[in-house]
Symmetry: C2
């Protein structure tokens, strides 16, 4: 079968690899029909050393179940399924608390942590298939496929940011970042009833999409200038929630600048830093809280799917390019150069 | 009148100062009947430079209203009142959200931020008296005075830690620090129904009091050894909430070590650091949240007082030494040398 491998920063190849096969009775084998490239795939695209590669890539997919192990009960051959970006048993004490990204099963993992599988490929072995996969009530030709694929990561991740930020009616929200996750954090904040949604981003086509998703204001400026703009837009106080969908330290510093006293900074951009200000002058003085982490998107799929199925929401609008497997290396380049927002891959 | 002044680290004096007087129509003048020394007073006792001094000291008191400005309506001459450690109007948007320590009134402040007043004194001018002071339904000879005085800071602060940590029935809790705030965080966690309360502290007399307040386990070890002990006591997982009542970086690091995946670190010890780990390996990976700050104790006084009045809870047991004003300098020394847990001052 064919699959995507990253050899080192900037070096993505599509090659023939050994076929994925069922190894454990709890596995399913899925033929991938839709996958994509994630903003987080750009981190290794910038920084991976040759010693760390080659790595199988991709952690979001929809596909058709081709085979199941003897212990799999919830999906069967022929089912169309979506997978979260993390594998989990969905029954342990953490999964039952809707924290599937901290599942305590020994096989639980992020797809990115499973070395011999990846979703930018023709097929994939899914460990803990009963806990991980969710059946989709559509057929392969559904026009909703792009939106349903966002349930694998970016929509659930944007929603997690909003949920952990305590977004609800009457709340003012700042979203930092106009990538797919930031835009879907806007959509999620709108869905949860936020009163004001300020989107901080400087790519006009993206922030325009953010407006259609529900952003009431857009701030293109960054740093101190951007902070001042958000303060101006919020009566000087900043916003109850700040959804940080970037992961770099300046985005966190920006969040500190625009969060309201007593508010929440909810991070879903994977932090590319370890130490940051959390003392008296930053978080403590005004009881500002910090939340977020890898989204337990498995917990949100059933909640978010109905709005997609009935056409109310179209999170799939974040995809602005579609390619086959051969086009994946160019897709990385396009996303890296900000020529594409998010690339859909149809193997 | 006489009042306590700190000239620099280790140099505390009781001197005659100008009488406190009413300056604004919203002021009250209170004759102090009970005050105390706070663990946070030890920070300047260790670090204050001569250039920063002399500073008036004390931010917790009970007293009798001696006079009120023309705009004061909720307290009158002769009322026995308690004051939170922060002055607030109790009507602004932040106060209405129970965040009185972030009150937006221009006169709002911590007592420690008001240069010409202090509670380790014979009298005090109380700005925003209507918002700040709470009447006590007891007489001056009440045996409950010590417990009622804890409503000014340490009990409300311990309670804030527990509240912000989401403590409730079924939750496991670690309290870091066996000072007055830590011990009252234990009492608060017990009051809120915590299932398990692990107190980390190494002063045997204090942790014994912690046990009577509700600690189910005591861990005297610190650092990695202490973390391992707490993990052992909690099925390897750590606790849902960690109430950090110390403020030094090692206490935060200890909190990272004992918090459960998806749990909350709730800080009420004033951070003596600014930068700390919050990246993937510390908070982010397992959606660990960070909360806390200066406690809006004004918000909690009415909620916490009934248990004191009816004798159910005795937070005043944290006081193990009583002195008059002349004994205040020795009181600082005793608390610094850990010979006293908390010193009550009766001017």
């Amino acid at each position: 079968m064919r699959a995507t491998l990253m050899y080192q920063a900037g070096d993505v190849r599509v090659e023939t690899v050994p076929d994925s096969v069922i190894k454990h009775p709890t596995d399913a084998l899925v033929r991938i029909t839709a996958s994509c490239i994630c903003g987080s795939d750009l981190h290794p695209y910038h920084h991976m050393t040759a010693a760390e590669g080659p790595a199988r890539m991709g952690h979001e997919f929809i596909g058709v179940v081709e085979d199941v192990g003897s212990d799999v009960g919830t999906v069967k051959r022929g089912d169309l399924v979506v997978s979260p970006f993390a594998v989990s048993d969905n029954v342990c004490e953490f999964c039952r608390e809707d924290l599937q990204t901290s599942c305590s099963h020994p096989e639980a993992n992020f797809w990115d942590g499973i070395p011999d599988e990846g979703a930018q490929a023709e097929a994939i072995r899914v460990p803990l298939a009963d806990g991980t996969l969710v059946k989709l009530p559509v057929t392969l030709d559904s026009a909703l496929m792009a939106s349903l694929l966002t349930l694998a990561d970016v929509y659930g991740t944007g929603f997690h940011a909003a949920r952990m930020g305590g977004v609800g009616p009457g709340k003012r929200v700042t979203v930092i970042g106009d990538g797919a996750v930031g835009l879907l954090a806007v959509l999620s904040a709108k869905r949860l009833g936020a009163e004001q949604i300020v989107l901080m981003g400087h790519h006009r086509d993206r922030t325009d999409l953010g407006r259609t998703f529900g952003a009431t204001d857009v701030v293109a400026e960054r740093g101190e200038e951007g902070i001042a703009k958000v303060r101006d837009l919020t009566g000087g106080e900043g916003t109850h929630a700040v959804l940080e969908a970037v992961g770099y330290l300046p985005a966190y510093q920006q969040a500190l600048g625009v969060v309201r006293r007593g508010g929440v900074i909810s991070r879903v951009g994977v932090p590319q830093y370890e130490e940051a200000p959390i003392g008296f002058g930053s978080l403590f003085r005004h009881n500002i809280r910090l939340a977020g982490g890898p989204a337990p998107v498995r917990a949100y799929i059933e909640e978010l799917m109905p709005d997609i199925l009935d056409g109310t929401l179209e999170p799939g609008r974040v995809f602005d390019e579609t390619t086959d497997l051969d086009g994946v290396p160019d897709g990385y380049r396009d996303m890296d150069e900000r020529r594409s927002l998010k690339v859909l891959v149809t193997p």
